[in-house]
Symmetry: C2
DNA sequence: CAAAATTTATTCGCACAGGAATCATATTCA
DNA sequence: TGAATATGATTCCTGTGCGAATAAATTTTG
């Protein structure tokens, strides 16, 4: 079995685990992982538009629209047209949405977090560096797909200049 | 931003990149990554049933059924009832299916492979080790969710005894 | 042997996820 | 100014993914 197969299998396991955790979250809180991620992004960003959210959470605009639909239906988010630019839509948390954000549990599965915290520090750093490196290697080709969650201070020193 | 956020963001980028590569494959070959993975599993296993395939590729039975539907519609796979056990279904590659398997391109994106091969050997090892470690940490908790792609020899020695 | 429990595959409902197409609004430039 | 272009959001379509419910067959058990 080649290295590529090993990588592929590990990736499939990881993707599946993340998906399973998402369903677990849905049972616990009524919200899936993508919904919680978007909600958190909305909490950080004032005047968030589908476009900016799309960049912030690395999802396509149609996907963001679909998730916002559900969040709006659940009463956690409101949408209104921007007064400055009639094309844009501004999404905001409702009080219930803010409540949901602060009550949100960890998105990563408890088992992973436990194991991660138990690991020696060098291994934690190795894992983070490797994941960032893989992400970088994978979307280096579509140059415009790299934006990601820019916040005030760039805490992710190792990542280097995206975009 | 916490380490957890960094991990989560890297994972989302990776998941997105894998998904995008799957659509690229669809454009190139008419088959998505999960379809190709299933096709390859069918090539390895004689008398494959949805159940056995489900274990082999780490997908749920309903998902396998859905993918088999499309592969059958495309004329790459045939299904027939098992004569020994009327509950089971046996899926087999057609000649066209065998052809598709042997013509299948790399499932990982070219950009990633290029970057990976260019990386120094220590980094390649680090990446593989980290991905396997993360996969392991993530599905260690649901013990029964670990099956994974067992092939002749178990090359993923670190994973420990599944079920 | 017949009823109950189990196993296997499938259907159904839901939530992503993205590309293509569409519609409305802004911007550019001839 | 007015037409061409660009941008932003959404809709439509297809394809995963899974859990729950269902159907069909087999095995177990009373």
């Amino acid at each position: 079995m080649s290295e590529h197969d090993v990588i592929l299998i590990a990736l499939r396991r990881i993707i599946r685990a993340v998906d399973i955790r998402s369903r677990e979250l849905e049972r616990e809180t009524g919200l899936t992982a993508p919904q919680l991620v978007l909600l958190q992004a909305l909490g950080r960003e004032a005047e968030a538009t589908p476009k900016s959210l799309s960049r912030a959470v690395s999802l396509s605009p149609p996907t963001v629209t679909a998730i916002l639909d559900r969040l709006e239906r659940a009463g956690l988010v409101t949408r209104r047209r921007s007064p400055r630019d009639g094309r844009s839509v501004i999404a905001e948390l409702t009080p219930a949405g803010r409540e949901a954000v602060s009550a949100a549990p960890e998105l990563l599965q408890a088992g992973f977090l436990r194991a991660f915290r138990r690991a020696p520090e060098w291994e934690q750093h190795m894992i983070i560096a490797a994941l960032q490196r893989v992400a970088e290697m994978m979307d280096c080709q579509d140059v415009d797909a790299a934006p990601i969650l820019e916040r005030s201070g760039d805490v992710t020193q190792a990542a280097g200049p995206d975009r």
